[in-house]
């Protein structure tokens, strides 16, 4: 029998029991996505090796298509491989596991400050995002912080183009599902090429924050602590104050238009006035119809091919600000956190906006459907 280490033989001093506040602290989880070769691995090795003072668990996993994941095991047994790094970070792979296994690993290895989950380059992250967002409801230890997509400035347009010729268009879906897009290898392209990339990203996903980087070296705040499912991004907000976004479109009209058409996936934005309590209920009904039943009310066009990947929004109901968050057919409307309401009040924004990112979504149709349904 192996002998005990000194640490184990020595009886430690008891410490004052702390309140359970520590235990109930929830750990944010970021889904890191990006096409093969875009620079995800460089970013991960940066997280695992640099002294950044955070205890981050990086889960590299072939989660693959969400259909193959045992979403929430009834049996909490698991298999994992762990690698503990010098900077306190942890790299592990958990096979066929899901949230329950990650939560169990946390109980064994102590809590992390953040969890970064790498997906395979060929995955549509929206299914994974929905799974984690849903799992918050039963496993309170972990919450979905957001989806980060790394793209390669040099090749992304080519990938999008090749995507559009195939039915499985992972690259465009990754961008569409992202809350933060990192354009890597920006040094390898000209300014005009970079503008074209930005334009394409904006056409697909008008609400993601965009960051530029070289060699995947970036500020960690662009990957962790996004709070993307719990707040209104400044991209949604800034656009709701005026027509700033439309202005951009005009500048690059030809690009935007052709890109939207080309990629199949685009963002639609429907502005809203301040709503009455009754209209707020009607908006909820509209969302149920669009997101749950895939039916656009009050318009005759068939929406059979419509597929929604992400919905966001901010709504002012008699001065109280509500936020909309959604992934695929799951959504939530809730009162904005207090500090956000204050910001809203300060900037005197009483107008709202709904943003829907998806396949075969048409801005004119959505606008007409929602305004007629609300009677505005």
């Amino acid at each position: 029998m192996a002998g005990d280490s000194d640490y184990d033989t020595e009886i430690p001093e008891l410490i004052e029991a702390s309140d359970s506040a520590d235990q109930s602290k929830r750990v944010p989880l970021t889904i890191l996505t990006g096409y093969l070769g875009a620079g995800k691995s460089t970013l991960i090795s940066h997280i695992l090796t640099k002294k950044h003072g955070h205890r981050i668990a990086v889960i590299v996993n072939e989660f693959g298509d969400t259909a193959d994941i045992e979403r929430r095991a009834v049996n909490v047994g698991d298999q994992e491989e762990l690698l503990e790094l010098d900077n306190g970070c942890l790299c592990c792979s958990i096979r066929d596991a899901g949230v329950a296994a990650i939560a169990k690993m946390m109980r064994r290895k102590g809590k992390f400050d953040y969890i970064v989950l790498e997906t395979t380059g060929l995955a549509d992250p929206s299914g994974l995002a929905e799974m984690f967002w849903e799992n918050e409801l039963y496993i309170p230890d972990i919450y979905l912080d957001g989806v980060v997509c790394v793209v390669d400035a040099k090749n992304v347009l080519e990938q999008l183009d090749s995507d559009s010729r195939r039915s499985a268009n992972e690259c465009v879906r990754q961008i569409a599902s992202a809350d933060s897009v990192i354009i890597n290898k920006q040094d390898l392209v000209s300014e005009s090429a970079l503008a074209e990339v930005r334009d394409a990203l904006n056409a697909i996903n008008a609400t993601a924050a965009v960051h530029l980087t070289t060699y995947g070296v970036l500020d960690l705040s662009q990957v962790i602590n996004l709070n993307a499912y719990n707040s209104v991004s400044k991209e949604v907000k800034s656009n709701s104050s005026g027509n700033h976004d439309k202005h951009n479109h005009d500048d690059n009209h030809s690009h935007s238009h052709s890109n939207t058409h080309l990629f199949g996936i685009s963002s639609v934005q429907v502005p809203l006035p301040m709503l009455t309590q009754e209209q707020y209920g009607t908006l909820d009904k509209w969302l149920r119809s669009v997101l749950w039943e895939s039916t656009l009310p009050c318009v005759s066009t068939s929406s059979a091919d419509m597929e929604i990947l992400r919905s966001k929004g901010v709504v002012s109901v008699q001065g109280v600000v509500y936020i909309l968050q959604g992934v695929r057919d799951m959504y939530e409307l809730k009162a904005a956190p207090a500090e956000q309401t204050q910001t809203q009040a300060q900037t005197q924004i009483h107008k709202g906006k709904i943003v829907i990112i998806g396949k075969n979504v048409d801005e004119a149709l959505f606008t007409s459907s929602l305004t007629r349904f609300l009677g505005i």
């Binding site: 005990d4 184990d8 009886i11 430690p12 001093e13 008891l14 410490i15 004052e16 029991a17 702390s18 235990q23 969400t66 259909a67 193959d68 994941i69 045992e70 979403r71 929430r72 095991a73 009834v74 049996n75 909490v76 047994g77 066929d96 946390m106 109980r107 064994r108 102590g110 809590k111 299914g127 929905e130 799974m131 967002w133 849903e134 409801l137 039963y138 496993i139 309170p140 149920r288 997101l291 749950w292 039943e293 695929r328 057919d329 799951m330 959504y331 939530e332 409307l333 809730k334």
Partner: protein, 415 residues
Amino acid sequence: MATCAGINCAQGNAKMQCPKCKDLDISSFFCGQDCFRKSWSTHKSVHTKPQAQPKDDMNLMKLAAALQQSGSSGIGRGEPMEEGAYDPFPNFPYSGTLRPHYPLSAKSKVPDTVTLPDYAKDGTLNLLKATYGLAKGLASIKRLSSEEIDVMRRVCRLGRFVLQQTAKQIKPGVTTDQLDKYVHALCMANNSYPSPLNYHGFPKSVCTSINEVICHGIPDKRKLKEGDIINLDISLFKNGFHTDLNATFPVGKIDADSQKLIDTTRKSLDNAIKICKPGTPFRNIGNEIQPTCDAEGFSVVKTYTGHGVGREFHQSPTILHHTNMRSKGEMKVGQIFTIEPMVNASKSYHVEHWNDNWTAVTRDGVRSAQFEEAILITENGCEVLTAADDYVPPAEHVTIPSIKADQDVVTIDDI
């Protein structure tokens, strides 16, 4: 306040914590350094990785049995073990007083004449099938034809029969293993497969959840005691369909608090059944259950949910019992799903698992109760397919089957 985890110490006011445990996020508290020192040689093993399954290690089993007999094992206040039984995880930081009573009896046999569900042989599930839930598209929620509903209704009536017959066997001195053998025999007599058996490897034919066990308790050698509460969760598979229902029962005379917990849990389920009809969003279910339980100072477990039931044991939709807005979809005619609130007798909804990877217990060791029915959405409202014959529907649009639970069934001798 926590109970002291020291050996043979039952101090209820343990305010100190082992630093190593804190690092590992293990919940164990001590009344003081003296008690901690005395318990250290036993306690420190809590810090190491969970032990292998006991069936894999005979030495460990013997050691555990020996420790048990000497009375020196166990953390916190465990109930005394039954004669001839032992706790396979003597150093596990149990949250309450209940302990597993091993060894488990041999696996029950199923004759060839009984049709097996797909997982019965190897205990693993087709993962595509296993991923029920909200994260699957709403289109995956099955709507049954009237022929399928007729079959399902029969299976649900049989489920109710098995539950009510087994409930009659509950009395002090009966072991949960005896109840399991009884359920198994009753299923065999009616040519049906007990769905829990080998589901993800579950070793028994019924889940028996006593006192602080929230759900998925494994039948073992522990005898029921006067004052216990026990949940019997019956699921069986026949003619291609599964049924699933459960109820919590008193063992002999129980205290008023336990009775209130049971009554509140049942009431919360009935409140939820009351709103089931076409067009009701699934998310409204939690709005009925949680406030009912919160009002009594109880809490609704979030970790385990209701689910669609039919050709699969568990399928979409996932039914959450707590207040939330993210549950998606509306009830539609022909859908069948369970509502099965688990309610803890404190404000803590948190769940811990024993080392058997099944038994779910309350984190603070308080009691937990549960009731479950399978609900069919009908044109005019809903039908409680698994209802007891004397069930009083909570609303006009709620109906129960006209077939009695004991109609055309085979019964067996009492325990």
